[in-house]
Amino acid sequence: MKITGKHSLSVVIKWMIHIAMVAGIALMLSLPWTLKWLMQLLFENVSSHYRFYLIILYVIGLCLLFILNELRIMFVSLERTDPFVYRNVIALRRMGVAAGILSLAFVVKMFVVNTPMTVLSFFVFFVAMLLSFVLGEVFQKAVAYKQDHDLTI
């Protein structure tokens, strides 16, 4: 199977991102009710942390949707087999910022309701932030090389 271009793996991943985005938006819209239902199911009452959970989950959800949208833009460029464009450098930097906000959100959660999963999520998004910024720089260099190559006659 081809990795980039039409009818390739990148198109499959792009559609998976679309589905994840739709599911994410639906989950965000139904969050106040879903969270209440889940808390009743797990703890048998809506705890005092309901408002905190709601806020932190909205922050996390919005950041994840933002990251998915930037990834979608990158995969669209992969479908066009033209990934080395400046827009992808911006996408990687924006994803880095969003991952940074996510790791901060998990730090905040660590102080209020700490679980092993929260600590793990913090590390995952912290590393994702660093990787995104480094990849952004690598992409910027690649864009410059491509421009040099394209304008060498």
Partner: protein
């Protein structure tokens, strides 16, 4: 850029169009146009050689150095 591509003057002297020259030297008309309008960042020796051969000129006739700000 300080290096000016003087291709349009030589082409006018030789009375040759962009399409004709691009066909003879084996590059696209779009690329030749980039070269002609000074938008190129570099030129390959093979391209320069082909241009000099077809236009019967020297590299110095095509490429001119001008100090920044001088026009």
């Amino acid at each position: 850029m300080s290096i000016i591509v003087n291709l349009d003057v030589i082409m006018a002297k030789r009375k040759i169009s962009v399409n004709q020259l691009s066909e003879r030297i084996g590059i696209t008309a779009a690329n030749l146009s980039i070269l002609k309008t000074n938008k190129a960042k570099a030129i390959r020796f093979s391209t320069l050689e082909a241009i000099c051969r077809e236009l019967n000129c020297q590299p110095g006739d095509i490429l001119i150095y001008e100090e920044e700000g001088q026009k």
